[in-house]
Amino acid sequence: MREIADDFAELTAPERLQLLLEFSEGLPELPERYAGSLDSMEQVHECQSPIFLAVEVGDEPRDTPGERPVHLFFSAPQEAPTTRGFAGILHEGLDGLSVAEVLAVPEVAPYQFSLGEAVSPLRLRGMVGMLSRIKRQVALKSQS
């Protein structure tokens, strides 16, 4: 996440939007087990667009739950590229990290992408909502 934030920080405002667009286009498709079953995912109501997320925590290692890997899945419409871009950043930055690493990401991380000016702080609240829901799910699922 830090590296992505640094990438954004080096760019001009229009370039930041372009990079966000690339993250939007790079958001992976949903795997078959989620496709068509949004009911099994959590809707992020903080976003004005219908976005859903699912969090999976690997089973191993059982004796050190903090090291279990986290995987993220997102569904967001093509006509909501900003929301997709936020999801793309979170996927790139968090997918594959351990439970402990994800839980250590500060809640304010979305404000560190230098996007406040280009995107508006208000819209960034949607990304804060995604992150807090991810962290809550990781906390819940890593205990089971």
Binding site: L17, S24, H45, E46, Q78, A118, V119, R123, G129
Partner: protein
């Protein structure tokens, strides 16, 4: 070449009070095809979206981006840009005082209607909405492009004039609403927000409110009731059945519309003003985010009486 300043003449629009305020996707496609978009003395098409990246993913050929947050809002104070800033924004898009402007956008034209309303604050005469907005254009499989037109700003005498905003006719402030209590008010939010059942959107502190409910006496008419499935506006007859017959609103009465931040109520302001011909409609852009946070301001809860 088609005359770009001629009003859209589709028969479906003719019944509206001000049919020249709407253009159809077909009409706009013909203007694009005839080279009237962005050409000298042509029309200027602006895309104004909630999603700031949407324009960059593809847009109507020749159209330019207008960001309601960056281009139309003051960066610090909760207010719109001033006369100089507005003139600069318009000139940069080759919009002169007499230019025909067509605005379209995502989310049922909420932000397009909002941009049109802001242009009305500055008295721009000829500004129109694309009926059905971006979604209808896309659904019809019409041409989209990622090419961003390179435009040279208008300068000198051709530049957009510095025209002071005249808020009074179409914009209501909190004090205006207080003075208007007992008059016609239209709350365009969802029924849950109106009743106070939904106190705030979760985790939306900037848009949230300390109290739920509605302005006393407001009629609950969610904005979407004015729109068809495809985002186009309902017919005049259908709109009259809702606003006049069912809600008892009168076109000659001073009327104020509001929502949460003023964008959905711009849509309803457009319906009442331009489609139904109400002659004194103001949009209260402070809306519930201001009212529901204000101290000692009357609030009513529960369903409409």
């Amino acid at each position: 070449m088609a005359d770009p300043t001629a009003p859209s003449t589709e028969s479906t629009f003719a019944a509206y009070a001000h049919p020249e305020r709407l253009v159809s996707t077909q009409w706009l496609a013909e203007q694009v095809g005839a080279g009237a978009v962005g050409g000298p003395d042509g029309i200027v098409v602006l895309e104004s979206d909630e999603d700031v990246l949407l324009y960059d993913t593809g847009h109507i050929p020749g159209s330019l981006k207008l960001d309601w947050h960056q281009d139309l809002n003051d960066p610090v104070m909760r207010d719109y840009v001033d006369a100089e800033q507005f003139a600069a924004v318009m000139s940069a898009r080759r919009v002169g005082r007499d230019t025909t402007v067509v605005i379209y956008g995502d989310k049922n034209n909420w932000w397009a209607a909002y941009a049109l309303w802001v242009m009305t604050l500055f008295g721009h005469e000829d500004v129109r909405l694309l009926d059905g907005g971006r979604a209808k254009w896309v659904a019809e499989g019409r041409e989209m492009t990622k090419d961003v037109p390179q435009v040279s700003p208008l300068t000198g005498d051709a530049a957009y004039p510095v025209v002071e905003r005249d808020d009074a006719p179409v914009r209501a402030f909190k004090e205006d609403v207080l003075a208007h209590l007992g008059g016609a008010l239209v709350d365009v939010r969802s029924p849950g927000e109106f009743s106070g059942e939904l106190l705030h959107m979760p985790d939306y502190p900037q848009e949230g409110a300390m109290r739920g409910g509605h302005i006393p006496g407001a009629r609950s008419v969610p904005w979407a009731r004015a729109a068809n499935e495809d985002g186009t506006f309902k017919s005049r007859e259908e709109l009259e059945a809702i606003y006049l017959t069912e809600q008892g609103l009168t076109p000659t009465d001073a009327t104020i519309a509001y929502c949460r931040i003023g964008e959905r109520s711009s849509h309803t302001w457009f319906v009442l003003t331009h489609l139904l011909g109400f002659d004194q409609v103001r949009n209260y852009d402070g809306s519930w985010t201001e009212w529901g946070n204000s101290v000692r301001i009357p609030v009513e809860q529960g369903a409409q009486k």
